[in-house]
């Protein structure tokens, strides 16, 4: 199998007395769709937050394409090639859909304060390129006709798509989706599934946190199950589905 893109080594995180993550170790391979599932409160989102630099882990750490991932500030995780969406959508509501995606291009472009003030040719060319790439991404997630609408005025499904487009704008090697199907109907979920599959085909590794077990089992190459902050199992869907501990975690033992 192919190389490991992200490796978590004994990652631990406590909130007061609550052990949100207990020495979680797992590895995501380049090019796969990796599912992370578990009951509510199992620590899935905490794991995301540690990985993207929003939280500092209390123990363990991550390595990303072979080198340690030291995320002092979240923009460094973005620079390394990790992008994410949020369980509760967090768009820039008062900016247009197009602008939201353009913000995501930040990490891959360089014109600074002086360029912005004096508008030299290089800055203008770069800003035109950012705009074009953002339009392409809106096409990619099929909401190009909403480009000039404020993000807060988009439908729920379109907001989810916009978040994915914004994350893709950072040119991630690893795209982390936090419950992208939450609140979606069957049609929207089917479209989302197609979109995620397409993203992987185009070369981006996907980490998927999801409650919709059917979606995860149908889409993912490998699945990890968290329960009470600890890793229960990490394997292909067919094995995970039959695992007694997973069934207990979901149904209560």
């Amino acid at each position: 199998m192919s190389e490991v893109l992200l490796e978590a080594k004994a990652v631990a995180k406590h909130f007061g007395g609550v052990k949100a993550l207990r020495d979680v170790s797992l590895s995501i391979r380049r090019g796969e769709i990796y599912g992370l599932i578990g009951p509510n409160g199992a620590g899935k989102t905490t794991f995301f937050n540690c990985m993207t630099g929003l939280y500092v882990p209390d123990g363990g750490g991550f390595s990303f394409s072979g080198t340690p991932l030291v995320a002092d500030a979240p923009h460094q995780a973005a620079e390394r090639g990790i992008a994410r969406t949020f369980q509760n959508i967090r768009l820039f509501g008062n900016m247009t859909a197009l602008e939201n995606v353009m913000v995501g291009r930040h990490v891959r472009t360089k014109a600074g304060v002086l360029g912005a003030m004096f508008q030299n040719a290089a800055t203008r060319a770069e800003e035109a390129a950012i705009r074009q790439r953002a339009i392409d991404l809106l096409h990619y997630v099929r909401i190009e006709d909403r480009a000039d609408d404020l993000a807060k005025n988009l439908s729920y499904g379109d907001q989810r798509r916009l978040e994915i487009a914004r994350a893709l704008a950072t040119e991630p090697q690893l795209l982390c989706l936090d419950e992208p199907a939450a609140g979606m109907n069957a049609t929207e979920t089917a479209e989302l599934r197609e979109l995620i599959d397409g993203i992987r085909r185009d070369g981006t590794t996907v980490l998927l946190i999801e409650h919709d077990v059917k979606l995860v089992m149908g889409l993912c190459d490998r699945v990890a199950v968290l329960d009470y902050g600890a890793l229960v199992i990490e394997d292909v869907p067919a094995v995970v589905q039959k695992d007694q501990r997973v069934i207990e975690a979901y149904l209560g033992a």
Binding site: A73, A78, A83, R90, F92, M102, H106, A111, A116, M117
Partner: protein, 307 residues
């Protein structure tokens, strides 16, 4: 009617200056929720640097236009550096402190800068060199000068430029994104520290420009001049809805007009009991009224979405 028109003109000029200074308050507040009370002192230092640089060059025999430009450039550069240093030294270490802490620090920085200016430039009033030709115009019984026209035009152009920067460029987009949600903006690769520093630097450049305008207009400067100007501009920012750029511009002009008209008519209204030197009360009456009845200001949005 001539006093009315006259005071409208005076108010527009004063208001343009308030607006430029108010933008410095509102940009910083919009992005990080901090009221930088030292901003008035940045303006003051802009004025005093211009006096020193332009004055020295004039004495050395340089033409007025060149000396004036050099003075303005020096003021802008010094103030940009000062704004950057303020953020780096005084506010960044307190980014995650309770909100009262940076506020008190801001007042402290204001005192530090005033005293620093007193040590460097002395405690006496200083004369600002005449950098613009004195030409008078008359319109329907009201007088105005070339300086006044230039102040209004340059302010308007600068504010237009700022709006372009904020709504048309990548940096502006990063600033708006950071104002709405710093955590998510940084996950998208926006370097929050750079964006906040940019807000301070740009706001200080506008402040320096305002400082030069104040000097040119009143031809006098003093190390304490930034205090009252800063409070007035802060009032203008609150009036327009602090955090909102268009609000700061409109608030500045409105405040200038209210003050000028108030000063023009207060004598008549009180039967000569209060004279036009009471004009300062209008700004603070406005501040109190806004805070009582519409604390979010003219263009301000509901608060509560700030972390």
């Amino acid at each position: 009617m001539d006093i009315f028109l006259q005071q409208i003109i005076n108010g527009l000029v004063q208001g343009s200056i308030y607006a430029l200074v108010a933008l410095g308050y509102t940009m910083v507040y919009g992005i990080m929720g901090l009221i930088n009370f030292a901003h008035g002192e940045v303006v003051m230092i802009g004025t005093l640097v211009t006096i020193t640089v332009a004055g020295t060059l004039l004495k050395a025999g340089m033409p007025v236009a060149l000396a004036g430009m050099a003075g303005l450039m020096a003021a802008v550069l010094v103030c940009m550096a000062l704004g950057w240093a303020l953020e780096r030294v005084a506010y960044r270490p307190l980014r995650h402190a309770p909100r009262l802490t940076p506020l008190i620090t801001a007042i402290g920085m204001s005192i530090v800068l005033q005293n620093l200016a007193m040590m460097l430039w002395g405690r006496n009033y200083m004369t600002f060199p005449s950098l613009l030709p004195k030409v008078d115009f008359e319109l329907a019984g009201a007088n105005f000068t070339a300086i006044q026209i230039i102040i209004v035009l340059v302010s308007a152009a600068t504010m237009g430029g700022l709006l372009l920067l904020v709504y048309r460029t990548k940096l502006g987009m990063a600033m708006r994104a950071t104002a709405q949600n710093p955590a998510v903006a940084s996950l998208m690769g926006v370097n929050i520290n750079r964006v906040i520093a940019a807000a301070f630097v740009i706001g200080s450049a506008l402040g320096a420009l305002a400082g030069v305008m104040v000097g040119t207009y009143y031809e006098i400067a003093h190390y304490q001049m930034g205090f009252m100007l800063g409070l007035k501009a802060f009032t203008a920012a609150v009036l327009g809805g602090i955090g909102n750029l268009a609000g700061a511009m409109l608030g500045g002009v409105l405040l200038g007009l209210i003050e000028a008209l108030g000063a023009g008519y207060i004598g008549d209204l009180t039967g000569g009991f209060l004279g036009s030197h009471y004009q300062d009360i209008f700004a603070f009456v406005v501040l109190i009224v806004v805070l009582m009845f519409k604390p979010s200001g003219l263009f301000g949005e509901k608060t509560g979405d700030r972390a």
